[in-house]
Each structure stands twice: as C-alpha cells, then as structure tokens.
Amino acid sequence: MYKEILQSIEGVSVYPIISLIVFVLFFAIILVWMLKVDKKYIKKMENLPFENEEENNFNNTGDLYEKKV
C-alpha cells in the first residue's frame, strides 16, 4: 500500500538528499545565531526558571550570585 504511494511520487529518491541539505543549512543557521546572539537575551533566558519567586539575578561567571539592585 505505502509502496505504491511512495513509488507514484516522481523522483522520490532525491528527497532524502534535499532533506539532508535542509538540515545542514538549518543547523548552520542555529550555530551562527548562537555565535552572534545578544548577551542580554541569553541572560534573560537562563534566569527564566527563577523569575517567579526570588528576584535573584544570577551572574554566570562564577560561584556567587548577586541580588538584583
């Protein structure tokens, strides 16, 4: 059943190659985005789990964190 459906698609064998290219491009975009991303955004994101309760603002450099001023 599925065989007939797939076989009826013209040039189906090229799809895997297209999909591989799509992924590699996608992954490249993610990498570039991560390299160029705004530091403020990252800081906001990594503090998301803490926003509900304590108004702590963590720095991401070492072992201590400071209270938000």
């Binding site: 999909s19 072992d63 964190y65």
Partner: protein, 706 residues
C-alpha cells in the same frame, strides 16, 4: 503595567507523583521477580500469567510508561505553567490525561500477563490500547500547546523545547509503529513484514529511548537542576545547540540495533555513523548539567537532591558514550544478544531516569506541600543503597555478558566450538544472575525508602492545591529586537520545525528499504506459513518466546557452526510481525526446524529440564492441556492476505481442514513415540511452527534476486 492574578494547579502534580511512585514500586518488584526467575525458573509457580515471557514486557512497560511516564508528566505539569507564567490550559484536560493514562497502565497490566501482545518491544500493547494511547497523547498535547499559546512569558525556556519535541516525536513514533491489521479485538498483525518490520520497530524502539527516556528528562534536568542548585544553567547557548543536534541525530540511529542482521548494509552503516555523531550533543548535555554545579560542589556533599542529580547526569554521560561504542560493528558483534545490553539500559534506567526522578521528587514534594522533606538522612540512605544497587546490577551484567559472548565464540584447537552446548554457557553465568537480582533488590529497597519518606512529607504538610501567582500579560505590540522571534516566539512554527527534523531521519531510513526491491532479495522457495504453523507462531508470540530466543543467525563462523546457515532477508517476507528478538537467554531458533524430533519438543515444553538438565527455561505444561482455538483461523488468513501474504482467494474456507490434517500427522507421530498427544492441543501447533522455522531455504537454496 497591570498584573494579572491566576493560580497553578498543584493537585495534578501530586497525582502524577503518587502514580509514578506506586507504579515504580510495582514495576521494579516485577523486575526483581523476573531477575530471580532467571536462576530459579520454578518461581513462575507453573502459572502462565507469571511466566518470564509474559511478565518481562510488564516490567519494561511499567517502568518506562508508568514510572517514568508519570514522573515526566508530574515534572511538566509543575514546570511548564511556571515557566510560562500561566495556568495549564484546561484543568479538565489535565484530569482526563491523568485518569486516561492510569487506565491505559491498568489495561496493560491485565493484558500483558494474559499473553495479549504484538511482540514488538516497548510497543507490546494490542491495538485497542494503542488507540487509547493516541487519544490520551493528543489530550496531553492540546493541554500543553494550549498553555504555551496563552502564556504570559514571551520566551520559551529550553526545557519547553524538549517537552515539545518529546510530544511531537512520540506521536509520530507511536502511530507509525502501530500500523497493524486487527484480526479480533485482542489480536492484530503488523502491517510490515520481516526486515521492514524490524527496521520500523527499532526506529521506534531506539527513539522511544530517545524521546521518552531522554529528551523529556533533559527538559526536566534543565529546569530542576538549576532550581535545586539555585543557579542558572552553565551555558544556555550550549543547550540550544545540543537540543537541535540531539533531536536531529537521534532519529537516524535506530538501525544500530540490527547490526549483522539481514538488514541491508547501507542502513546498518547509517545507524553506526549517526550513533557516533550522537556523542557530541549527548555529552554537551551532560557537561552542561555538571558544570551548572561549578562552585557549588560543597553543597553536593550535603544535599541528597544534588547527589541524585549528579549521579543521574553522570549515568547519562556514561550510557550515551557506551551506546555509540556498542554501535561499532566489532563491539556489537560481542555485545549484541547478551547481558551487556541489559547492563547498558539499566545504567540509563536506574541511573539517569531513576535518580533524576528521585532528585526531582525530593525537591518537588516539599515545595507543593509547603513543608520540609521528612528525613534528609533517609534520602541520603536511599542514595547510597540505590547507588550500590546499580553497581551490583551493572557489574554482574557486564561480566556475564562478556563472559557468555566469549564462550559462544570460543573454538578449540580442532577448529570445533569449545562449548557446543549452549546450556554450558548459561550455567557459567548463573552466579551473575544471582548478584544482579541482589542489586535490583537493593535498588527497590531504596525506592521503598523514598516512598516512605515522601509519604511522611505529604502527611506533614498540606497540599497547596491552587498556588496563587501574578504576572503581567504579554504585549503583542511589544517591540522585539531579538532575531530569533520567527522560531522561538511562535511555538507552532517551532513544533513544525521539530516535526520536520524528526521526519527527515525517518524518511531517509524507510523510503529506500521500502522502495528498492534489491534490498530484500526474494527467495522462491520461501512460502507462507500453513494455518497450523500460523497458529503455532501466534502461541510463540503469546508466550513471548522471543524475549529469550532470537531468530536471527548472524554471519559469523561461531554462529553458523552452532546454528546453521545465516539468516537472509528474503526468508522473513511473510513474517508479520518479525520475531528476530534482541536477547539470547536461550539459543537462537531460526534454524530450529528439523533439528530435533517432535517428541523432543513435546517433552521439552512439558519440562525443559527433562531434555536439558539445568536449563533455566520455565516449563509450559498448559500448552499440552490447552485446546487450540481455531475459530479465528479464517480471519487470520484473510487479514494476512489483505496485507500481502499470497494465500489464494478462498483459502480461508479450506484452512481449517488443512490445519486438522497437519495436526493429526504430528499427533500420530507423537503417539507412535509413546506420548498421549491429542491433535487439537496448542502444543501441536507450536511444534509445527518450530519444525518449520528456517527450513524453507533448504528446499531450494538458489537465491532468486529480482
């Protein structure tokens, strides 16, 4: 800005937590029982419902879908609303999700011991339950996506990405792997046959591990580890890269479960390559988890929650390094079919899943009950008892896996197998089985300590059923400078993107195998099973003989010497479902046909130790007493014909007569040899099937490749 008031539903978190704990204990108890049966087979008490083959899937399903599944839901129902600053989309859907999931678990707990199984590992449940799982999964999806859509927080924290990917992928996996044609309410045949069925099954099996046991737990790790450690995750950037790499690579790696099988070579290599690449994102996740604790290691010494999490993340790192190593063909040649794999999965299950669950619950329960943990000391004891349990379990299984495999492959100076009797290699590792059961028991004791500790905590506190919260609404016109809005700001796009990434892997794996005929060379002499053999095969499935016996002779000299000609893809074209198995607790059965007389099988099934002294196979006396149910024979023939098995039109009318004729011949042969066999018993059908196994190519060994 106007703050809006709302509340978080903690009751659903508590319910899922309790369900996870209860089913966790049950699942592990069954685990200890089957571990014990492996050195004391009489512990099945000659009751069919307690036999290894039937309750081994009960153990795996209970631990994966009941213990881990409920823990995932508890974790998500707590973290998701808080990360989104919105209550769950619908309390009613939460309740339906909870009770629906528990009903499915109960249905599984009843149907599996009854022998109602599809035989596909981790997808054993029959088709009505499959449909129920689909419905409940959709309820969960609507509830989760609905919450995301009406959130008050613009950004989706990385944990939510993992949750979304989990939902999307598990839906795809479950549906694709569950295509089956029903014969009756409790019986169905897989739509796929042989090699294709194996490929779909292990694409599913592998990714069930990936997207039920790994991605949701990584999501939980990214929320609960920072919470418990009270510091943000080490690198948020790393978490994003590791997320996309992980979900893309994982989906391709399934064929590494089928190395040296009859699967085409290119598919095997694909699985290996992607498995090796998987080390990078997996270790990215582990490193991110461990480095979150940098500077806080002094607290790890005191805090049992952090201890559990550190060992969990470390176990994750260990098993995700071991996995790719096991995908190398030369390592796989030794490890596959042995206890090594059992050790590998239990590092993941007991270490990663079990310990992260424990860490999460020890943190979560006091939080929602607004109290302190009843006993920190007891949690510490749980940690040490559990860790010891894992060490005993894993080291025993590594030892027995490697030892047995080397014995299978050992030749003597004469060029003959050193241990031609399979049983010899089994008896060698019995002490390891005893140690394993001991390790499992220790782990279970730890679980019981946790249940006691958390129960006491719950009784000491009072559940904050509806926790008040407030947050500013999300502004649509809010100017957003950050460039990724196109993806992360729009959860539906995000979901589609995740789906596409996941489907790519599946398509690349399946399309060629399904299309290219030369991938499965057909063999002219391979014929469909006779009605009696078909019934025998269904008994084989019911008793889950494939839990302990493979039907796949790999192309090694040590295996062709022991079992006979190696297995060809074309031999399985009428196998709905495939029954290759994944573990050789007993010998391979693919060339069993004609190896022993009917009488041997009869006496062996009645009491294996009468034919093989010391055997750890349980006796199956009920096969000799039970009358074979032949009422479904025509339906079975019709169902199989409709999915491509070439039974001639109208054969269903003749099938019962053919079945009786073949049964009488076998019964007559048995009677001549002095056992009071009757032709209408189940044992006759099973013998017919066993005698047919792997004999087709002997009739005409010429491969006819089309």
């Amino acid at each position: 800005m106007q703050l809006e008031k709302f509340s978080y539903d903690n009751k659903i978190v508590r319910d899922f937590t309790i369900a996870s704990l209860v089913f966790g204990v049950v699942g592990m108890l069954v685990g200890v029982l089957i571990a014990t049966q492996l050195f004391a087979p009489e512990l099945n008490f000659s009751i069919p419902f307690l036999t290894f083959g039937r309750i081994r899937p009960l153990h795996t399903n209970a631990v994966i879908f009941a213990f881990v599944g409920n823990a995932i839901f508890a974790g998500i129902y707590y973290s998701l609303p808080r990360l989104l600053k919105a209550p769950m989309f619908s309390t009613l859907l939460s309740r339906i999700h909870f009770w629906g999931w528990q009903l499915i678990i109960v249905a599984a707990a009843i149907s599996l011991p009854l022998g109602l199984t599809t035989s596909k590992e981790y997808a054993e449940l029959e088709w009505p339950i499959d449909i129920a799982i689909t419905l409940i999964w959709v309820v969960f999806g609507i509830n989760m996506i609905g919450t995301i859509l009406k959130r008050r927080e613009k950004h989706l924290y990385v944990a939510i990405w993992f949750f979304i990917a989990t939902w999307v992928t598990v839906a795809v996996l479950h549906i694709v792997n569950s295509f089956e044609i029903p014969v009756s309410l409790f019986k169905s045949y897989s739509l796929y046959a042989g090699v294709q069925d194996a490929l779909v099954q292990w694409w599913y099996g592998h990714n069930a591990v990936a997207f039920f046991l790994t991605t949701p737990y990584l999501g939980l790790m990214y929320y609960y580890l920072p919470k418990a450690a009270n510091r943000p995750v080490y690198s948020y950037k790393l978490s994003i890269i590791h997320f996309w790499a992980l979900i893309f690579l994982y989906i391709w790696a399934g064929p590494h479960h089928l190395l040296y099988s009859a699967l085409p070579d290119w598919a095997q290599s694909l699985g290996t390559v992607f498995s090796i690449m998987l080390i990078a994102p997996s270790w990215g996740g582990m490193i991110n988890g461990l480095l979150t604790l940098r500077g806080a290691w002094d607290r790890v010494r005191e805090d049992p929650i952090l201890k559990f999490m550190v060992v969990a993340v470390t176990a994750y790192g260990m098993s995700t390094f071991e996995g790719p190593m096991l995908s190398l063909k030369n390592v796989n040649a030794i490890a596959h079919f042995t206890d090594w794999i059992i050790a590998h999965v239990h590092i993941g299950a007991l270490g990663w899943n079990g310990f992260l669950t424990a860490g999460m619950f020890y943190w979560l329960v006091p939080k929602i009950f607004k109290t302190e943990l009843y006993s920190k000391k007891m949690a510490n004891v749980h940690f040490w008892v559990g860790t010891l349990g894992i060490v005993f379990y894993a080291s025993a299984m590594y030892w027995s896996g490697v030892a047995q495999s080397l014995m299978w492959k050992q030749f003597n100076d004469m060029g003959m197998l050193q241990y031609p009797n399979f049983l010899e290699t089994t008896l060698q590792i019995i002490p390891m089985y005893i140690i394993r059961a001991f390790g499992g028991t220790l782990y279970l004791v730890g679980m019981l300590l946790m249940v006691y500790n958390l129960t006491k905590t719950m009784m000491a506190g009072k559940l904050a059923a509806n926790e008040e919260a407030e947050a500013a609404p999300m502004h649509k016109d809010e100017k957003e400078k950050i460039s990724h809005r196109w993806l992360e700001g729009k959860p539906i796009y995000f979901m589609v993107a995740a789906l596409v990434v996941v489907l790519i892997g599946g398509v690349v794996e399946f399309v060629p195998t399904f299309l290219v005929k030369s991938n499965i060379p057909t063999i002219a002499s391979v014929k469909p099973y006779t009605p009696l053999e078909l019934q025998g095969r269904d008994i084989y499935i019911r008793e889950a003989c494939n839990s302990c016996h493979s039907q796949l002779v790999r192309p090694f000299r040590s295996e062709t010497e022991r079992y006979g000609e190696y297995s060809k893809a074309g031999e399985f074209v009428y196998d709905h479902p495939f029954l290759w198995g994944s573990k050789r607790t007993g010998p391979d059965l693919h060339r069993e046909g004609g190896k022993y007389p009917n009488l041997w099988h009869y006496l062996h099934m009645e009491n294996p130790r009468s034919m093989s002294p010391g055997s750890i196979m349980p006796p199956y006396p009920w096969l000799i007493e039970n009358t074979l149910d032949i009422s479904l024979t025509p339906n079975k023939i019709n169902a199989l014909r409709s999915i491509g098995v070439p039974y001639p039109e109208g054969y269903e009318n003749q099938a019962t007569d053919d079945l009786m004729k073949q049964a009488e011949a076998i019964a007559l042969d048995l009677q001549k040899n002095g056992v009071p066999a009757e032709p209408d018993k189940e044992i006759i059908a099973l013998i017919a099937y066993l005698q047919r196994l792997g004999t087709d190519i002997k009739a005409n060994p010429v491969l006819e490749s089309r």
